[in-house]
C-alpha cells in the first residue's frame, strides 16, 4: 500500500543518555541510549514499570527527557510531528466516541494534513477485519475491534515512524496472529521505522528485526538481540524458540541483577 505523500523512507531514531524522572521523584528511565535503524522494526520488552512506555512517549515527543536527548533523523520529535510523519497506537484504543470507525481513521489523515482517501481507509478497515463496521461507533464494537480500528488509524498516514504501545493487548488470540501476519508487510513495505512495546516475547520475536530488553525500573538497556529469522515468519520454528529463550534469559538476568543489587544494598 503506497503512502499518499510518497514517504517511503523510515526515520533513524537516536536516544542519547536519556533519563526520565517524574514529578514526585519516580525514576522511570536511567541514562538510556539506543538507536533505531531506519526502516527496521524494533521490539522493546521488559518487566512492568521499567519505562518502556516512557521511552516510547519520549520518542513520540509526548514526554521530554529529564536529561539526555531524543532525535529523529537528527531533529527533535516535534519537527516530525509537524510534518505528520509520526503515528502512535496505544493499548487504550483512544477512539473518539462520536465518530464512526471510518471517521476515526480519517481523523489521522485530517490531522496529518493529508488529503481524504476513502479507498485507503476502506482497505485498512478490511485489513484489520472490520469489514461491515465502517459506520459503527466505538460503543458498538468490542474491545478488540476498537483496538483494530486504532491500529488502522495509526497506519492510514503511512507514517515514517510508527510507535506501537502494546497495541495487541485487548485483541483476541486469533486476530492477534492474523494482525501479526498482515501488519508487518504494511509498515515494512513503506520503509517505516517501527517501535513495538510489548509484554509478549513471542510477539517481539515474530514481528521485530531486533529485540531490546530493559531492566526493571529504573529501566536501562540490558540486552540488544538481533532477530535473524527470515520473513514471512508464519510457522513456529526451533530457531524462533531459541530466540525467545534468549530474550527470556535476558529478562531473567535483569530481574536477578536487580534483586542482587537490592540485596547487596
Amino acid at each position: 500500500m503506497e503512502a499518499d505523500r510518497g514517504v517511503g523512507v523510515g526515520v533513524a531514531v537516536e536516544v542519547a543518555v536519556a533519563t526520565k524522572v517524574y514529578a514526585g521523584g519516580t525514576d522511570a528511565l536511567q541514562a538510556t541510549s539506543l538507536t533505531l535503524e531506519a526502516g527496521r522494526t524494533t521490539a522493546l520488552v521488559g518487566p512492568s514499570g521499567c519505562g518502556k512506555s516512557t521511552l516510547l512517549r519520549m520518542i513520540a515527543g509526548l514526554e521530554a527527557p529529564t536529561a539526555g536527548r531524543v532525535t529523529l533523523d537528527g531533529e527533535a520529535p516535534e519537527v516530525l510531528q509537524r510534518r505528520g510523519e509520526l503515528a502512535v497506537a496505544f493499548q487504550d484504543p483512544s477512539l473518539l466516541p462520536w465518530r464512526s470507525v471510518a471517521q476515526n481513521i480519517e481523523l489521522a489523515l485530517d490531522l496529518a494534513r493529508l488529503p481524504r482517501n476513502d479507498d485507503r481507509v476502506a482497505e485498512l478497515i478490511a485489513l484489520v477485519g472490520l469489514d461491515g463496521f465502517a459506520t459503527a461507533t466505538p460503543a458498538e464494537l468490542s474491545g478488540g475491534m476498537r483496538q483494530r480500528a486504532a491500529i488502522a488509524r495509526a497506519l492510514v498516514t503511512a507514517p515514517r515512524l510508527l510507535l506501537l504501545d502494546e497495541p495487541f493487548g485487548a485483541v483476541d488470540e486469533l486476530t492477534r496472529h492474523e494482525l501479526a501476519r498482515e501488519l508487518p508487510a504494511l509498515w515494512e513495505g513503506g520503509g517505516t521505522t517501527t517501535l513495538l512495546v510489548t509484554h509478549s516475547v513471542a510477539e517481539a520475536v515474530r514481528l521485530a528485526d531486533r529485540v531490546i530488553v530493559l531492566s526493571p525500573r529504573p529501566g536501562r538497556v540490558i540486552a540488544d538481540i538481533p532477530i535473524t529469522l527470515t520473513r514471512p515468519r508464519g510457522a513456529e520454528s526451533a530457531e524462533a524458540a531459541a530466540l525467545e529463550r534468549t530474550v527470556r534469559d535476558a529478562l531473567e538476568a535483569g530481574r536477578a541483577g536487580t534483586a542482587a543489587g537490592q540485596n547487596a544494598g
Binding site: 533519563t19 524522572v21 517524574y22 514529578a23 514526585g24 521523584g25 525514576d27 536511567q30 541514562a31 512517549r57 513520540a60 515527543g61 509526548l62 529529564t66 536529561a67 516535534e78 510531528q81 509537524r82 505528520g84 509520526l86 503515528a87 502512535v88 496505544f90 487504550d92 483512544s94 477512539l95 473518539l96 466516541p97 462520536w98 481523523l107 489521522a108 490531522l111 496529518a112 461507533t137 466505538p138 460503543a139 488509524r153 510507535l163
Partner: protein
C-alpha cells in the same frame, strides 16, 4: 548512574505547586484591581475597597460575631437535618431500588421550590425564632447531598456486588458492606456543596423576619446604603462558605482517601424505552408523594385554612374556577415579567461559563489555577451577591439578569472546565503526535467531550436561575413573580403564594426535564458509556 549524578537531575516542579503560585498571584492581582476600582468609584455607593471591608469588619466585630454565631448555628442544624434526611433516603433507595425514582423526583421538586415563597410560608407555619431558617437550610442541602450520594452508592464495581450475591446475601448487606464505603467520596462531594447551600438557606430564612443573623444585617446594611458593611457581610459569608467547603474537603480526603469527585449529573437509570417509561412512572409517583406530603402535612399539623391551600384549592386558582381567573392572570403577568430576566440571564450565564472555560483551557497553565477559584466562588451563597450586584448595577433589568447569570455562570464554568479536561488523555496524545493546533484539539476532541458536562450544568442551572431571578426580583427590581410572591406573603395573600409556589416549581421542573431530554440525546452521541 551515581547518586551524585542522580542528584544533579533537575526534579520537575509539580503542577500543583505551579498552580498554587499562579493562583496566589491571581488573588493578589484581583485584590489590587478591586482596591483601585473601589477608589476610582469612591462616592458612587457601589464598591467598597478591600481595605474598607477589613475596616468595617474590625469596627463591627462584636455585631458581626454575634450574627455569624446565630446564622452559623441555624445553618449547622439545617445542614445536619437535611443531610441526615438525604443519607436516610439515599440508603433507602440503595436497599430498595424501586424507590429511587420517587426519591429523586421528590428531591427535584424540593430543589425547584421557590425559596422566596417557601421562606415566608415557613415563617407563618413555624413562627418566630430559628425554625424557618433551619428548615430552609435543611431543604437547601437535601438535593445537593442526595444526588452525589446516589451516584456513589451505584459507583461500585459489579463484581463486588456479585461477591455479596454469591455469598447468599441481599441488598441490605451490599449496602452496609460495600456500597456505604464506596459512596464516601461522593457523599463528601455532596457535603462540600451542601455547606454553602445551608448557609444560603439560613440567610434566606433570616430575610423573612428573623431577629438576628447575617441575613438580618444584610437587609439592614442594604437599606441603610452602608456599602462597606454590605461588602463586609458578603465577604464573611463567602469566606465562611469557602472555609466550610475546604474543611469538608480535607476531612473527606482523610476519611475517603482521595479527592472528592466532581459530580455533574444525577444518576441515570435503565436504558432506552424502558428508561422513558420508568422516568414517567417515577415522575408520577414523585408528584403523588409530594401531594400526599403536602395534603398530609396540612392535616397532620392542623394548619389553619387561612394559610393552608390544598392541591384542590391550587387547581381552582390555576384554572380560574376559584376567583374567576384573577389570581391566575396576576401570576401569568408576573411570570411574563420574570421571563424577560431569567431567559437572557440563564443563557448569558451558560455562555459566559462556557466561553471562560474554553479561554482558560486555551491558555496553558491557567486551568489548575482557575479551577479552585471557580469552585470556591461557586460556593458563595447567591443571596450575599444580590445586594452587591444591586449596588454595582442598580435595581433595573441589567442587575436582575446579571444576578441570574452569576448564579448559572460558576457551576457552568466548573462543569465545562471539568468536561474539557475529560477528553481521554491518549486521544490528546494521538493529536499531539500530529502536532494538532490547540484550537483543533479543542474543536475535535475537547468540546465534544465537554458537551455532557455542559448540559448537566445547563440542567442544574434551571432551578438555580429561577432561584436567582426570584431573589433578584424580591430584593432588587420589585417586579415579576419573585416580587409578587414577596408582596403576597407580606399581604397574607395565600392564594397567590400557593399558586406561585406550584407554578414556579412546575416550570422549574419542566425546564429541568426539557434540558435533561436534550442532554440525553447529547449523551447518546458524545458519551455513550454514560447514556445507559
Amino acid at each position: 548512574m551515581s547518586a551524585g549524578a542522580t542528584a544533579r537531575i533537575r526534579r520537575p516542579i509539580t503542577a500543583a505547586r505551579r498552580d498554587a503560585a499562579i493562583g496566589t498571584v491571581g488573588v493578589v492581582i484581583a485584590l489590587v484591581v478591586w482596591e483601585l476600582a473601589a477608589r476610582a468609584l469612591e462616592g458612587g455607593f457601589a464598591l467598597a475597597a478591600p481595605t474598607a471591608v477589613v475596616a468595617s469588619i474590625v469596627d463591627n466585630a462584636g455585631l458581626l460575631g454575634r450574627a455569624l454565631a446565630a446564622t452559623g448555628t441555624t445553618a449547622l442544624l439545617g445542614f445536619v437535618i437535611g443531610n441526615g434526611a438525604a443519607v436516610a433516603l439515599g440508603a433507602l433507595a440503595a436497599a430498595w431500588p424501586r424507590s429511587e425514582r420517587t426519591i429523586t423526583g421528590l428531591a427535584l421538586i424540593v430543589v425547584c421550590l421557590p425559596l422566596v415563597a417557601t421562606a415566608p410560608l415557613l415563617r407563618v407555619l413555624l413562627g418566630q425564632g430559628d425554625g424557618p431558617s433551619i428548615a430552609l437550610a435543611a431543604l437547601s442541602v437535601y438535593y445537593t447531598t442526595l444526588i452525589p450520594l446516589l451516584v456513589g452508592l451505584r459507583a461500585v464495581p459489579s463484581t463486588w456486588l456479585d461477591l455479596v450475591q454469591v455469598a447468599g446475601r441481599g441488598p441490605l448487606t451490599a449496602l452496609v458492606t460495600v456500597r456505604a464505603r464506596a459512596s464516601l467520596p461522593y457523599l463528601a462531594a455532596g457535603l462540600q456543596i451542601a455547606a454553602p447551600a445551608a448557609f444560603l438557606g439560613a440567610m434566606v430564612g433570616e430575610f423573612t423576619g428573623a431577629e438576628r443573623g447575617l441575613g438580618v444585617l444584610t437587609i439592614r446594611a442594604a437599606r441603610d446604603l452602608d456599602v462597606d458593611l454590605t461588602w463586609a457581610l458578603a465577604t464573611i459569608a463567602a469566606v465562611i462558605s469557602m472555609a466550610a467547603y475546604g474543611l469538608i474537603g480535607i476531612i473527606a480526603r482523610r476519611l475517603a482517601g482521595g479527592e472528592p469527585p466532581t459530580i455533574l449529573a444525577a444518576p441515570r437509570l435503565g436504558s432506552g424505552r424502558g428508561r422513558l417509561r420508568a422516568t414517567l412512572v417515577g415522575a408520577g409517583s414523585a408528584v403523588i408523594a409530594a401531594i400526599v406530603l403536602w395534603w398530609g402535612g396540612i392535616v397532620a399539623f392542623d394548619i389553619t385554612p387561612f394559610v393552608a391551600r390544598t392541591p384542590i384549592d391550587v387547581i381552582g386558582i390555576v384554572t380560574g374556577t376559584r376567583d374567576g381567573g384573577e389570581t391566575r392572570d396576576a401570576l401569568l403577568g408576573a411570570l411574563a415579567e420574570t421571563a424577560v430576566f431569567v431567559v437572557p440571564g440563564y443563557l448569558a450565564g451558560l455562555l459566559a461559563g462556557l466561553a471562560l472555560a474554553i479561554l482558560v483551557v486555551l491558555v496553558p497553565g491557567t486551568t489548575g489555577a482557575v479551577m479552585p477559584i471557580a469552585i470556591a466562588l461557586r460556593s458563595v451563597p447567591i443571596v450575599t451577591t444580590v445586594p452587591l450586584i444591586v449596588l454595582l448595577l442598580g435595581r433595573g433589568p441589567v442587575g436582575a439578569i446579571a444576578i441570574t447569570a452569576v448564579m448559572v455562570f460558576f457551576p457552568t464554568l466548573v462543569a465545562c472546565l471539568h468536561g474539557l479536561r475529560r477528553a481521554p488523555g491518549q486521544v490528546l496524545d494521538v493529536m499531539k503526535v500530529y502536532a494538532t493546533p490547540a484550537w483543533r484539539v479543542l474543536l475535535q476532541a475537547r468540546i465534544p467531550a465537554m458537551l455532557p458536562a455542559f448540559f448537566a450544568a445547563a440542567r442544574m442551572g434551571v432551578p438555580a436561575a429561577v432561584l436567582a431571578v426570584t431573589a433578584a426580583e424580591w430584593l432588587a427590581t420589585g417586579t415579576g413573580i419573585g416580587a409578587l410572591m414577596a408582596l403576597s406573603a407580606s399581604l397574607s395573600d395565600y392564594d397567590v403564594l400557593a399558586g406561585a409556589v406550584v407554578i414556579v416549581t412546575v416550570i422549574s421542573a419542566v425546564g429541568y426535564a426539557l434540558v435533561g431530554a436534550i442532554e440525553t440525546r447529547v449523551l447518546a452521541r458524545y458519551a455513550p458509556e454514560q447514556s445507559g
